[in-house]
Subunit: 429 residues, 2 copies
């Protein structure tokens, strides 16, 4: 078979970009042996000359102006690795309009403008691939697109943020405070110097939107995701959770309910025997519940230059195959259905609470009455320890609607004997 | 876009075949909405009329002679679900020679004759898909083919037999003997009435060959797999393993070593903190170690009509896409490299042993000397309990070459104070 050479241009030579170039240099010939066409890294663009110097590529392949890639008719595939919304969005649109396939790891962009770019690609008979945008090196987008095509996914549960999973693991295993665990994660490179997106749950929410689109075939909306970060979780909570048989994880949860999609990111108590509980450190995993397969889990590195580079290059090969075989939009993603959304208040959950209360007669009765008034019943009440003059109490409710639980909570916090805002964590149901 | 109808014929209407028809009837229109072509279940063949009666299909679609499918020029895709080597092999060859794509769940056949059928398909410009042959409903073949194309896999560790995993889980959790756990598995439908292939490790070995071919791009040979079943493992072994921090799993292990492929199936002690340890009951998982991604795991149902049917229909959609877009052998599997094989004797491992010995002076010294003579050093020696006049001793060795260990073992079993063959289980290293 005559060998076709597929030419790739890469925009953005940061850590991931350098990883892609390095992995291509190491395994490119092995890749070309596996497929019957040749993939060539033809050009790399970055505004920063120093970054370009760090690449082990011939000088004539390096440029500081992305237009040299976008306007080069010989380039078949553009890898976008600059991140963020603009100029990434315009750059990708221009590449598509110039007839190029696009590979991206940009989760913010795919969560907010993915559908518009996919449609633009379809009109231009090309496609956009984004395996690395969720779960880093874990094959996830491709299985969701292809392997589950005959199944119906009802729920997606993801540990999709490595930073927060690392923090919870260190708190659990080494008794660190959240602050100390975060500092350690930063020192080891698992957390960025500005960890806001990770710690506040935004990173996980972007990934949830991308997964929900594919898993349910319905248009998930980032603004409809209920997002809570990890800041309210203390070492004590993690330690008490373990005593009653749970680990604490930041979960991205998507559910396809009769009333619409329910999308949320929050810390959750996960039963120790659930496979997600054994996902430790910076690792990621996505657990899928479906009609036919019942339960699937995909586990691996959610970040890192090499794992992400492997995912990006697998997309490059898929794009190259489409070009080689003239498949145009071979892997059509169907138009997503419009859908309603279920607010968090309408969902049912069990709740874990930890309070500090004055240790005197009648306090517990007031608490219990406040919950009973809203028909929230208690499954477990444990007095843990004394903190100065106060008693620390852990409660776990039975299943209750969140809005009823919140109403009860307002009454409870009015009780003068309660001395601090409670820690509240939902249990995975 | 004009809608093309892709016609599917299914041969073999047993449990899985019925599952495929049922899932197609339930989700077929949803599948057709996701892709821009229509998949039609056009004909089902089975020699057994009763099985055909059980299907919810029009009478004119049912036939007792597979030739009606194989020779029908309107049929684009043949699903083979009769299992075993012959007549499945001839039937698939005929389908391919008649220009049809083939989807199969036949692990024995793909392990023994997969390469010959893949080559035949290539010559006939079609392809053969076999996602359901390993790991049932777990997306595994497709990720190995596509997602890891830029990575180098060094080791594959699979819990790929649900029956034996169920048995070990019941022994561990409920203290059952192997025999009682097997009976329970049979009663619940997790084990067949003749469980030989499962219990003796053959089923896992077939799957290992298929995975090794794809993971390493080298020609794995079923006859080169070292196979040990689960029969030698007792409740005591599982219980002692847990005490020292391990679970017991039947593992299919493939390694790409400098000297060649090392392929083996045997029970192994898996550290409790390893993700494979939390794979319980009839569930399966495959853990992959690679250069770029480092560690990946795919977890889910390894068998069952519905999960397997979902995998088969995902292959049907992939085949239909190739037909729709005229991709011919779009998903070329590269020719596998010829390779050498590393015999089990040349591998290093740590070994767990459980002995019954006469409880008198000098016995342990004899044991220790026999090992020391072969330079096998002991990491752990625990006297567990008295059994009548005898003492039960558990040993764990340091890493040792298997042939040296075996030589030591022969000397040990010559010692007159040893009263029964030891239980021997390798530790996962």
């Amino acid at each position: 078979m005559a060998e076709k050479i597929v030419k790739v241009g890469l925009v953005g030579a940061g850590t991931i970009g350098k990883g892609v170039v390095d992995l291509y240099l190491r395994n490119g010939s092995a890749i070309n042996n596996k497929v019957d066409f040749a993939v060539m890294m033809a050009k790399v663009a970055d505004r920063d000359r120093d970054r370009l110097q760090g690449l082990d590529l011939e000088k004539e392949k390096l440029c500081t102006d992305a237009s040299e890639i976008l306007e080069d008719p010989d380039i078949d595939i553009v890898i976008e690795l600059i991140g963020g919304i603009e100029p990434a969005r315009s750059l990708i649109a221009r590449a598509i309009e110039n007839g190029k396939y696009v590979v991206t790891a940009n989760k913010d962009l795919m969560a907010r403008h993915g559908q518009e770019l996919i449609r633009l690609a379809r009109r231009n008979k090309v496609n956009i691939f984004y395996e690395a945008s969720v779960g880093g090196g874990i094959p996830l987008i491709r299985p969701l697109k292809h392997s589950l095509v005959a199944d119906r996914v009802s729920r997606v549960l993801g540990i999709v943020n490595g930073t927060t999973n690392y923090i919870f693991t260190r708190m659990d295993q080494d008794g660190l405070s959240l602050e100390d665990a975060l500092s350690e994660a930063q020192r080891l490179g698992f957390a960025e110097s500005d960890p806001t997106n990770d710690v506040e749950g935004l990173d996980a929410a972007y990934k949830l939107v991308i997964m929900a689109n594919l898993a349910f075939g319905k248009k998930a909306d980032f603004d409809q995701v209920h997002i809570e970060g990890i800041k309210g979780v203390t070492y004590e909570d993690i330690s008490y959770a373990r005593e009653i048989g749970y680990s604490v994880k930041l979960l991205a949860i998507g559910e396809d309910l009769p009333e619409g999609l329910a999308l949320r990111v929050h810390p959750a108590l996960v039963p120790l025997e659930h496979p997600l509980s054994s996902v430790l450190n910076e690792l990621n995993a996505v657990f899928i519940e479906s009609e036919a397969a019942k339960e699937l889990m995909f586990y691996g590195p959610g970040a890192g230059a090499m794992p992400t580079a492997a995912a990006i290059l697998s997309d490059v090969v898929e794009a190259a195959r489409c070009i080689r075989f003239n498949v145009a939009n071979g892997v059509v993603e169907s138009e997503l259905q419009e859908t309603g959304f279920v607010p968090i208040g309408a969902l049912e959950a069990r709740f874990y609470l930890r309070y500090l209360v004055e240790d005197r007669a009648g306090v517990f009765a007031s608490l219990a009455n406040a919950f009973a008034d809203e028909e929230v019943s208690l499954d477990m009440v444990i007095q843990k320890r004394r903190v100065g003059d106060l008693a620390e109490v852990v409660l776990v409710t039975h299943e209750a609607r969140e809005d009823a639980f919140r109403r009860a909570l307002e009454k409870v916090t009015d009780i003068s004997a309660i001395k601090a805002n409670p820690s509240i964590i939902r249990l995975l149901n």
